[in-house]
């Protein structure tokens, strides 16, 4: 037999080839492992990154806040007497009962915000709640650690009742007429701070997406409310 097994080209196994085969097998195995591992890691990571969608509320119910009692403020007279100072904000439907701090303006001319996320503040440049004009109350949606006083503000809806206790004990009772969300770049200054002929209320907090680059939310959520008084509908 001339055809020696050893002379067949295919049968000739060089030392390099002997090494290459297992290497290729190892590369194949490692590649598959890496691919599978990455996909698994991605699945795990994406599960952890969305701890409940933004619309969902985290654990914890709103605390139970009873509807406050007290003599109800009448419609404001056009021969304006000053209304009493606001001291407390109560919104039973979303478990809010907070004292009201006073908010002025920053040196940049923007609205001051409460130093604590646990309390709301009344803008002293706006009307007093129950007087002609829109009283403006702001509160944080959250602190760095968790929910703030207006965390559930976005859950208010048309018809929700909002109570402001005033110095002297009287209550200005408001009814929510509209809820709106705005990009901060489109903040409706005139609708929030502009003149109104009746007693109204604006509740302001943040909302929308939080921009980790700037440390601010991109939107504002605003509740518009009007005074409810005897005889009003």
């Amino acid at each position: 037999m001339r055809d020696d097994l050893t002379t067949r080209p295919g049968r000739h196994i060089s030392p390099i080839r002997v090494v290459r085969r297992p290497v290729a097998a190892v590369v194949l195995a490692c590649g598959l492992l890496a691919a599978g591992g990455s996909v698994a890691a991605l699945a795990v990571a994406s599960q952890h990154s969305v701890p409940g969608s933004h619309a969902a509320m985290p654990a914890g119910r709103p605390k139970v806040v009873p509807v406050p009692l007290g003599s109800q403020a009448p419609a404001p007279q056009p021969s304006a007497r000053r209304a009493a100072r606001p001291i407390r904000l109560i919104i039973p439907s979303i478990g809010v009962s907070t004292r009201l701090v006073r908010l002025g303006l920053t040196s940049a001319g923007t609205l001051q915000v409460p130093a604590s996320a646990a309390v709301a503040g009344w803008y002293t440049g706006s009307s007093r709640p129950g007087a002609i004009g829109a009283a403006v109350i702001g509160g944080h949606i959250d602190s760095r650690l968790g929910p703030g006083v207006f965390y559930r503000l976005r859950l208010l809806h048309r018809g929700s009742r909002v109570y402001v206790r005033r110095a002297g004990g009287t209550l200005a009772v408001f009814r929510v007429t509209a809820m709106h969300a705005y990009l901060k770049s489109r903040f409706p200054t005139e609708a929030v701070y502009g003149p109104t002929p009746d007693a109204q209320l604006r509740l302001i907090t943040c909302g929308g997406t939080f921009d980790y680059a700037t440390g601010h939310y991109l939107g504002n959520v605003i509740a518009y409310a009007v005074l409810v008084h005897r005889g009003s509908r």
């Binding site: 067949r8 295919g10 049968r11 290497v23 290729a24 097998a25 590369v27 194949l28 195995a29 490692c30 590649g31 598959l32 492992l33 890496a34 691919a35 990455s38 991605l42 990571a45 994406s46 990154s49 985290p58 056009p78 021969s79 304006a80 303006l105 001319g109 915000v113 803008y123 007087a131 004009g133 944080h140 949606i141 959250d142 760095r144 968790g146 929910p147 703030g148 207006f150 709106h180 969300a181 705005y182 990009l183 901060k184 903040f187 200054t189 609708a191 701070y193 502009g194 003149p195 109104t196 002929p197 302001i204 907090t205 909302g207 929308g208 997406t209 939080f210 921009d211 980790y212 939310y217």
Partner: protein, 286 residues
């Protein structure tokens, strides 16, 4: 661009898109906050007309929406917020049955976001209900003021605020346009042929007022009514009312993991190819 940079960019894009979509459903022009309603108030400005009962009906509804009893000269009601549409204002003698024929009535059409004063004007003999549209905007930082001349004793009254004349020789039932004034303490003088009167008022910035000149036993009386009020100073821009403690963590970008997975698959494919290439020649040889 490094991978983490591009990942950050993608995350931000996704965030902005998400917000835009989220807000689209809610963002409605500011004016719509009061879009489907307006305001009405009722006034009695006829000096020799006795007190009346004033009824407000929404068109086609026979039961009154508001009834003001014993409204006497010089009285102006608070604004009533009402849905847009047609309304009828009727005056009856005090205590007259609601079903009785009114002494006087008029209709008023309330447009969205507008405010109106419906006033009984003129002498009792020629009493009429007049509808004024009330202003709801001011130039930034100003107070707006108009005058209603409701004195019958004086045929022509000149009303001035400080040195500024708001209305010269105003006749009974005249209403001036609104004029912009600097906010602050204001002394208003009303001077007729034989009578005069004055009042001192505090005008706020971004607020709107109506001064009413009334007859008051042998002199004129000036009353200042607040039509509307806004914040004295309008804060600039939006409000930063949150620190992000309840915001979703920024999503872990899938890019690095997808990259790793792709690289792994590529390596596996390479390995597999090698293995096959080595085998094929051997098969041929057999």
């Amino acid at each position: 661009m490094t991978r983490s940079e591009s990942a950050g960019r993608l995350a931000r894009l996704v965030a902005v898109l998400g917000l835009a979509v989220g807000l689209l459903g809610l963002a409605i022009p500011a004016a719509s906050a009061s879009m489907t309603s307006g305001w009405l108030r009722l006034a009695h400005l006829s000096p020799n007309t006795p007190a009346v009962d004033v009824y407000l009906y929404s068109f086609g509804n026979p039961s009154a929406r508001i009834v003001l009893r014993h409204v006497s000269y010089g009285t102006v009601s608070p604004y009533e917020r009402v849905p847009t549409g047609e309304y009828t204002v009727a005056m009856r003698m005090p205590g007259a049955a609601a079903t009785s024929k009114p002494v006087l009535s008029t209709t008023v059409s309330v447009a969205s976001g507008d405010a109106y004063t419906v006033a009984g004007m003129g002498p009792a003999a020629g009493l009429r209900l007049q509808v004024f549209r009330d202003r709801l905007q001011t130039p930034r930082g100003k107070a707006m003021v108009r005058v209603i001349q409701a004195s019958m004793h004086q045929t022509a009254v000149t009303v001035s605020a400080g040195k500024k004349v708001l209305g010269r020789n105003l006749r009974f039932t005249t209403v001036t346009h609104y004029q912009a004034l600097r906010p602050g303490d204001l002394t208003v003088r009303a001077v007729g042929e034989s009578e005069h009167g004055s009042g001192r008022f505090m005008l706020a910035a971004n607020a709107i007022y109506t001064l009413v000149v009334l007859d008051d036993s042998g002199q004129l009386k000036v009353v200042c009514l607040m039509d509307s009020a806004g914040s004295k100073v309008m804060p600039a821009g939006s409000a930063q009312m949150g620190f992000g403690g309840t915001a979703p963590r920024p999503g872990v970008s899938p890019l690095p993991w997808l990259g790793a997975a792709a690289a792994g698959l590529l390596a596996a494919a390479g390995g597999a190819l090698r293995l096959r290439r080595r085998r094929r020649p051997a098969l041929h040889a057999r």
